[in-house]
């Protein structure tokens, strides 16, 4: 099979650029696809044509678009879909193995990510019901209606949803999926190593009957990414802290950066800590430890060293395997330098007093593994005496967590901004404090994995409220 060429999609129309990049197998560098790279001017000109894209989506009702989304979910999961301009298609298995070969995610994790996306597409009605708090969706078609006996009128805040996507996890694409049913076209810069998932999703939508004009897919440079974020009115950006800090406070840009998710155990439950080791381990290591919802710290009032040791024993023995191993736990690094940098950063900070790597004694060899299967980092669980240690509140693109001791009364102050908190406690006063804490995005009360997401509740912002605004309306009788 020849190497496919993935074009840019200019409001649905394939466009082959004269500037092209390669998407390569992270292990041997072999070329898996070439990718059209477009200059920012192409994007700016297409943004001027967004009215056509909106008009195409507006021809369909929200309910029709929900049905199309569900059909797209089936196609995404099961169908052979176009992957290039030359008629090449990918079966689901080809998609899995190709994405795995360029991103480092083992097949089993790609499959799980596919299932998540499929679930989101199949359950869009439920998701929109949650996000709109039960709004009759015909209100979006008519522009006005009633909710709980009151007149309501919603208008879109933007002509398009801009997306600057990452390469680390396919399931992040599920965040933009409601946009189509909400009749807002997308303008996307895909991640450099991960054009596969968004391109496959777009092809699934088109095959399911969605107007192609709704999809802008623009592999581009920094200028192009900046223009997507600046000109789309509403946009999502994914990236590390240095990237996301630039857009913090910009109401038009929803920032998805590190999550610093945590598990907190209260005074009343800490003696039962052995019961929660499996929950802690899976929260740390599922999906290769790459997600913002992976736990990166376990905060406890005491038994910190014992918990770190138990997690170290459970996770320390995990070794990298081949990408098609159904039991694979670790992801390879598409960029080996990233793995090397993380390893050296952890090592450097371990030299500072007050921290101990409890995985080290259970680990065979070093944390960093470089072999014919790629570059990997074995799990790390680090006990920190306090939140003053630089490793206490860190997030890395691998299974990494600190175990930190802190009095229960100080926990909420010390943890800082946190995407997901799983709080294990029956103390009603502590629960009350948790429910009132403004620095927690998602709160799990009780032993629930930090990885568990509720699709019908906001994740780092409510997509409906991001894309629509309510205004008051009066109508003459």
């Amino acid at each position: 099979m020849s190497t496919p060429h993935i074009p840019c999609l200019r409001l649905g129309k394939p466009y082959v650029s004269l500037s092209q990049s390669s998407v390569n197998d992270y292990r041997d560098g072999s070329e898996k696809a070439t990718l059209s790279q477009v200059n920012a001017g192409v994007i700016r000109r297409d943004i001027l044509r967004l009215n056509d894209a909106k008009a195409a989506l507006n021809k369909l009702s929200t309910n029709e678009l929900i049905e199309i989304s569900a059909k797209a979910g089936e196609f995404f999961l099961k169908a052979d879909l176009p992957v290039g301009v030359d008629g090449t298609t990918h079966s689901p298995q080809e998609y899995i193995s190709t994405l795995s070969s360029t991103s480092g995610l083992p097949h089993v994790m790609v499959r799980r990510n596919m299932d998540k996306i499929h679930f989101a597409l199949s359950n869009l009605k439920l998701i929109l019901n949650g996000l709109t708090r039960g709004l009759d969706l015909s209100v979006l078609d008519n522009g006005f209606g009633e909710q709980a006996g009151s007149p309501v009128c919603f208008f879109p805040t933007t002509d398009a949803l801009g997306l600057v996507m990452p390469s680390n996890s396919p399931a992040v694409n599920s965040l933009w999926l409601p946009s189509i049913a909400l009749k807002v076209p997308i303008m996307m810069k895909p991640g450099r190593d991960e054009p596969w998932t968004p391109y496959r999703l777009i092809q699934a939508f088109i095959a399911a009957g969605c107007p192609e004009e709704a999809f802008g897919f623009y592999p581009t440079d920094h200028e192009g990414a900046g223009d997507i974020l600046r000109l789309c009115g509403r946009a999502l950006i994914f990236g590390d802290k240095s990237t996301t800090d630039i857009y913090a406070g910009n109401p038009g840009v929803q920032v998805h950066g590190p999550g610093f998710s945590k598990i907190l155990i209260g005074e009343d439950e800490i003696d039962n800590w052995p019961d929660y080791v499996d929950l802690m381990a899976s929260s740390i290591a599922d999906n290769g430890g790459r997600s913002c919802v992976n736990a990166s710290a376990v905060v406890v009032p005491r038994f910190g060293r014992e918990i770190a040791d138990a997690l170290g024993e459970k996770l320390g023995a995990i070794n990298p395997t081949s990408s098609d191993d159904p039991d694979a736990v670790l992801s390879g690094f598409a960029n080996p330098k990233m793995g090397e940098w993380i390893d050296s950063a952890i090592e450097a900070d371990l030299h500072q007093e007050g921290a101990e790597d409890y995985t080290a004694k259970y680990r065979e060899g070093k944390r960093l593994v470089q072999n014919e299967n790629g570059t990997f980092l074995k799990p790390s669980v680090v006990y920190c005496e306090s939140f003053d240690h630089p490793l206490s509140n860190r997030e890395f693109l691998c299974p990494y967590a600190s175990v930190v001791e802190a009095p229960q009364k100080d926990m909420l102050r010390l943890i800082g901004p946190t995407l997901v908190v799983t709080a294990i406690s029956n103390d009603s006063s502590f629960k009350k404090d948790l429910l009132a804490a403004p620095n927690i995005e998602r709160l799990n009360l009780g032993p629930i994995s930090t990885m568990k997401i509720s699709w019908d509740q906001p994740h780092e912002g409510n997509m409906f409220e991001f894309l629509y605004k309510r205004r008051s309306i009066g109508m003459a009788a």
């Binding site: 790279q37 200059n39 000109r45 001027l48 900046g226």
Partner: protein, 358 residues
């Protein structure tokens, strides 16, 4: 005449011109202080040993741009021009002292010659032009006005200071850089709204920005003469197909600077994937694409550093290494000497270069 014969004749003309220019600049009766004093310090005599252009390439060291920055302007004035005030033109200078070149008539000679390469269809005579871009102390401002005048046209000007843009971008003040560009575009669109203009000289980025806010074809623009920043193949295609609407506006890319003059392009388009090749105004200026380690031209269709030699009576500048790299291309019927293609900042593939909006 075959291309081969044309190449041979052009090479002979270059050799004759090179010898004549060296005689001019290194003779006490006509030469300038800088080169006469420089020659005194050498163990060889340019007047005797330069017998061809290749002698210049082999015997002179690379021209140092600090000489244009640090030395007083008058050391460069050939004796033959004594008593005539000179223009002082600047290049670069984002921080500190800029490079300065003095001149009298060179820009007129260069741009008069260039005018002959423009078509009347896209650059109609006896009308109005507008330049939107760096004016200030640059040769370009006078040169463009001369070029317009040469074609019976008058020219409007909107200034943009590239030194300020570079400082804004280097300090990550992107909003300010954008606001400054918008300020320039506002002025240009005001002129287009109230005056009839058929030809534009501007930079690719400013051209794009203008076209995003106004239909340039409907505004009466027939030709765009463009230079200043890198135009890779995709970008050139985009400018031709979308900004200039597939030939409705004639698109004339150029490569040039204060030290060289103006290089013309040879035909390009979908047939060669929009790869632009420029040819220097030889024999007044010579562009080589060289391997700087060996001081030899790279093979045709290979990348190398762009080296400029300027050979006019006003200015002699041997082997100046431009901050650009390019692909060496074979001679062309209308300019039967080497061309430089797909010019981009030297090291562009290795690092981010601040080029900004101009």
């Amino acid at each position: 005449m075959s291309l081969e014969e044309k190449v041979k004749l052009a090479a002979e003309a270059l050799d004759d011109h090179a010898v004549e220019m060296v005689k001019w600049h290194f003779s006490p009766e006509t030469g300038c202080k800088f080169w006469l004093e420089w020659a005194d310090k050498q163990d060889w005599n340019p007047l005797e040993e330069i017998k061809s252009f290749s002698d210049i390439s082999n015997k002179f060291p690379n021209f140092q741009d600090e000489w244009l920055r640090d030395l007083p302007n008058d050391v460069w004035a050939p004796k033959a021009y004594a008593g005539r005030p000179f223009n002082i033109f600047e290049t670069g200078g984002t921080t500190g002292m800029p490079k300065q070149r003095i001149g009298w008539d060179d820009y007129k000679i260069d741009y008069t010659a260039f005018s002959k390469t423009l078509s009347d269809e896209h650059f109609p005579k006896d009308h109005y032009w507008m330049m939107v871009g760096p004016t200030g102390p640059r040769r370009l401002r006078l040169a463009i006005e001369h070029l317009a005048n040469e074609r019976g046209c008058s020219c409007y000007f909107v200034d943009l200071d590239p030194r300020w843009v570079k400082r804004l971008i280097a300090s990550k003040q992107y909003d300010q850089a954008r606001a400054y560009m918008d300020h320039a575009i506002d002025q240009a669109l005001t002129i287009l709204k109230h005056r009839s203009v058929s030809a534009l000289f501007t930079t690719p980025k400013l051209l794009e920005a203008m076209a995003e806010r106004k239909d340039l074809v409907k505004a009466g623009i027939k030709g765009v003469f463009c230079g200043g920043t890198t135009m890779n193949k995709q970008y050139t295609r985009f400018l031709c197909e979308e900004v200039c609407e597939d030939g409705k506006i004639g698109f004339v890319p150029t490569y040039g600077n204060t030290l060289m003059g103006l290089a013309r392009h040879r035909p390009f388009g979908p047939e060669n994937d929009y790869s632009i090749t420029y040819h220097a105004p030889q024999p007044r200026a010579v562009l080589r694409v060289v391997n700087t380690d060996t001081n030899t031209p790279v093979d045709y269709n290979d990348w190398g550093r762009v080296e400029l030699t300027t050979l006019t009576k006003e200015f002699f500048m041997p082997r100046f290494l431009e901050r650009d790299e390019a692909i060496r291309r074979e001679p062309w019927e209308e300019a039967p000497w080497d061309g430089v293609a797909e010019v981009r900042p030297f090291g562009a593939m290795q690092k981010t270069i601040v080029e900004g909006v101009y």
